[in-house]
């Protein structure tokens, strides 16, 4: 019995180790492909034709949708950055989704809103009650919808889709800042391949700690909090390289809700965003892929590794836990809903490559990792753990993870070079190492909880993240005595 238990534990240990190494190697391959594409894109820097796209009356107009729930800390900066986009034709539709703070009041005051009758362009289902619709009288192309919240971001986006007028819709989070050319760059694939391109996404970076002014990021900096620094590496790996790699394989599953551009007619055609999904951004992409494949229509989702949307990430473990549980819960919902696509050749690389990867490594990953940790502890407790072998194995797993993070930081330094300060770069490298010790394990625990929520069909509720607002020069000078809320 004892031998059988020992054998079982050791088998689990080896399986878990193999799994972790396999995951990191798979990510490394993905990062390598992503890096190849990023470097290829950089060769075209300055010759992409952005000026002509900006000057062209043929460039498709964009409705930017900004759902906001209790975003008083940064909503004015977000709107300022969005309205200041260097783009030939755009409107902004902000949805105040049942905010209990001053979100609406701040916007109403800044843009001198006046109440109007909505001009509906679609009839998507909206569960919350639309209370009123407003327009800016300052000359800004801004529409604001006030509605009651039903606890789901998708409901707010659908309400905005019902009044969005332009052929492309861009979804931007209420705590995010777009760089001035971001929209122009992410819209370029729609100009250059209008028949096939149905959606594009751009790079998301962490804004915590960066110096901003009126919605513009003046100087990218790393936060002093290690939790944020680790997420900065995580975002680089996921957005800059991971999604670029997936897009290259025509298997992009996620375009972030924080910054994604889609053909409006298609989003309306599939009934808007799934009102019950917690991963509504990924759900939209997969639904679009499924819809187009089923109808045999040409489609391509593009990830543009250049345009940058800066977004706030959690600064505490508690908030991070809430966010990651929600993501994992949403992924569980998504894979369950689209289970018929998994390993189904009818859906091409999405069905054969991306969905199985997300099932094996993203959804089930935390199960294996937590199980592995428990089995190591158990093996040590009953005295069957060979410390030398275990040390070597664990060290190898950590080293492969570190190699992955270091590669990501290296690609960032060789290509975009956003962090000019050497200390920030060092911190980024250190965060890449630290990510593997502690953060990764806690993160696995959060994801496991989210998976359990999905398995038990827990009612999906979107919980808002507490916002700290963006750092301005005035915030850095205590003598200035300004309030901490930059948007106020």
């Amino acid at each position: 019995m004892n031998d059988a238990a020992t054998s079982l534990i050791q088998t689990v240990n080896w399986t878990v180790l193999g799994y972790v190494v396999l995951l990191d190697v798979a990510m490394l391959v993905l990062v390598a492909f992503g890096a190849r594409r990023v470097l290829a894109n950089r060769r075209w820097a300055g010759a992409e034709g952005h000026e002509q796209i900006f000057a062209s009356p043929l460039t498709p107009a964009v409705s930017v949708i900004v759902p906001a729930h209790d975003e008083e800390a940064g909503i004015l900066d977000t709107l300022a950055a969005t309205l200041a986009q260097r783009y030939p034709s755009l409107e902004v539709v902000m949805v105040d989704d049942g905010s209990k703070d001053r979100t609406f009041d701040l916007v109403a005051q800044r843009y001198a809103l006046t109440r109007v009758t909505p001009r509906r362009t679609a009839d998507l289902q909206v569960d919350g009650e639309v209370l009123s619709v407003h327009r800016a009288t300052t000359g800004d192309p801004l529409t604001v919808i006030r509605k009651t919240s039903v606890g789901r971001r998708s409901d707010a986006v659908n309400a905005a889709l019902n009044v969005a007028r332009h052929p492309l819709v861009c979804m931007v989070d209420g705590d995010s800042l777009l760089e001035p050319d971001a929209l122009l760059k992410v819209a370029r694939p729609f100009v250059e391949d209008p028949v096939n391109v149905i959606g594009t996404g751009g790079v998301i970076r962490t804004v915590n700690g960066a110096l901003t002014d009126g919605g513009a990021v003046l100087e990218p900096r790393l936060s002093r909090r290690w939790l944020v620094r680790i997420q900065a590496v995580e975002y680089l790996r996921s957005f800059l390289l991971g999604r670029t790699g997936w897009a290259d394989a025509n298997a992009l599953l996620i375009i972030s809700g924080a910054f994604g551009l889609f053909r409006r007619d298609l989003v309306v055609e599939i009934g808007g965003l799934d009102p019950l999904s917690l991963a509504e951004d990924a759900e939209l992409v997969v639904s679009l892929q499924e819809h187009m494949r089923r109808q045999g229509r040409p489609h391509r989702l593009v990830f543009v590794p250049e345009p940058v949307c800066w977004t706030e990430v959690p600064e505490t473990w508690e908030v991070l836990g809430r966010q990651r549980r929600r993501w994992s819960h949403g992924l569980g919902q998504l894979l369950w809903k689209h289970k018929h696509m998994i390993a189904n050749p009818r859906y091409g690389t999405v069905g054969l490559l991306a969905l199985p990867f997300f099932l094996l490594f993203e959804l089930l990953g935390p199960v294996v990792e937590v199980l592995g940790l428990l089995s190591v502890v158990l093996a040590a407790a009953i005295g069957v753990l060979d410390p030398a072998s275990a040390g070597v194995m664990i060290g190898f797993a950590l080293l492969v993870g570190t190699l992955l993070s270091t590669t990501v930081v290296a690609v960032e330094e060789f290509t975009f070079h956003r962090y000019r300060n050497g200390r920030d770069l060092l911190a980024l490298l250190a965060a890449g190492v630290l990510e593997n010790v502690g953060y990764r394990q806690v993160h696995a625990w959060y994801r496991l909880q989210g998976l359990c929520m999905a398995l038990t069909r827990r009612k999906p509720v979107w919980t808002a993240m507490p916002r700290t607002g963006f750092t301005t020069a005035a915030d850095e000078a205590p003598a200035a005595g300004r309030p901490a809320l930059s948007g106020a």
Binding site: A40, R43, W44, G46, A47, G49, E51, Q52, I53, A55, S56, P57, L58, T59, T114, V116, T117, P118, R119, R120, T121, A122, D123, R135, T137, G139, V191, E192, D193, P194, D386, A388, S389, V392, M393, G395, F396, L399, V400, T402, L403, T406, T407, V409, A410, E413, F414, H417, R420, G422, L425, L429
Partner: protein, 357 residues
């Protein structure tokens, strides 16, 4: 330690080595880039007065210009798209004198797509008309980015000889995106008009659509009759008909009112109906009122009703009266009318504020 653990240990050493190599590479790159940026900034500061001198027509600096480092070319290429007229010509001749244009022409056949594309962009910025033929050839390049770059360069060159090839490239085996070709054709100006008018009747729907859009943007009254025929023909492509409707709205000739009204009420294609309604609003002819009012009341989709209401708001007092009358209704029609009236009031507000100021 087991043999597997030993193998893993060796693997760990290899991975550690890779991590160290990457760390060193990052450190070296960071340092080198920081120094390079500082050096470039210093040199740019030194070269800027030289560029200004040439822009001022100070020929005495030409020798210094010839001897200047390659960074000068970058500086000039950055400035070029922002300049027009004599200043632009002056900087273009700098590129020519320094052999940059000749080198770029040589790069048009380079192996790397990015190199070919960058060369095309440079030739476009340099408005090098003698390379139009080579750029036209690039419209059939295997790399789509290169085809796009060549099209943009042809637009900037301003050589009317490129009009035909640009239009043809839209329907070629490896097609040029209509948006890219369209912008290039707009850059070429009125020289493109005869070919665009001809494309309305001949060729593929995608070329017809593009031609209609561009003729509308030019506000070309000579194409009105052909556009009316296109918009009213049920057998033609709906996208092309929609573009024709938009073009007629931009041209603004009341001659098109009857055809657009027929399309608004007779077509089952909502985007085409919306375009027809918008065009009727732009034309603002009283003859379109009846069709717009019917569309506001009876159109099956909310967007067509909305477009009719918006158009009525643009057709003066008569349209306004129709909107006020329908705004009382508690239906989608009433909502569309109220929305249009709100927008109208809003659009008049800044004007009132400005007048008061």
């Amino acid at each position: 330690m087991t043999s597997l653990a030993q193998a893993v240990f060796i693997g760990s050493l290899v991975v550690t080595l890779l991590v160290v190599v990457l760390l060193v590479a990052v450190a070296v790159e960071h340092g080198a880039r920081t120094r390079r940026l500082a050096r470039d900034a210093r040199r740019r500061a030194e070269l800027t007065p030289l560029v200004h001198a040439l822009l001022d027509g100070d020929a005495g600096d030409e020798a210094a210009m010839t001897a200047a480092p390659a960074l000068l070319d970058e500086l000039v290429l950055e400035l070029l798209p922002q300049l027009r007229g004599a200043d632009r010509t002056a900087l273009q001749s700098v590129l020519l004198d320094r052999g940059v244009v000749t080198r770029a022409a040589g790069d048009l056949t380079a192996r790397g797509a990015a190199r070919r594309g960058r060369a095309a962009v440079l030739l476009g910025n340099a408005a090098s008309v003698e390379h139009t033929g080579a750029l036209v050839e690039l419209l059939g390049d295997r790399a789509p980015e290169v085809r796009n770059a060549a099209a943009r360069a042809l637009g900037k060159n301003g050589d009317a000889a490129a009009v035909g090839p640009l239009l043809a490239a839209v329907t070629a085996g490896q097609p040029l995106p209509p948006g890219v070709a369209g912008m290039a054709l707009l850059d070429l100006g009125v020289a493109a008009l005869p070919s665009l008018r001809a494309a309305l009747d001949a060729g593929f729907p995608v070329a017809q659509t593009l031609a209609a859009e561009l003729l509308g943007l030019h506000g070309d009254p000579a194409s009105t009759t052909t556009l009316i025929a296109l918009v009213g023909d049920d057998h033609r492509d709906p996208h092309a008909r929609r573009a024709a409707a938009q073009a007629l709205g931009r041209i603004g000739s009341p001659v098109a009112t009857a055809a657009l009204a027929d399309v608004l009420l007779g077509s089952g294609h909502a985007p085409l109906q919306c375009a027809a309604a918008e065009a009727l609003g732009r034309i603002g002819d009283a003859g379109g009122l009846r069709a717009l009012t019917t569309g506001l009341r009876c159109a099956p989709t909310v967007d067509v009703r909305g477009a009719c209401a918006d158009a009525l708001a643009l057709t003066g007092d008569a349209g306004h009266r129709q909107l006020v009358a329908h705004a009382q209704l508690r239906s989608a029609t009433g909502e569309a009318a109220r929305s249009a009236l709100d927008v109208l009031a809003l659009s008049r507000r800044p004007a009132r504020q400005a007048a008061a100021a």
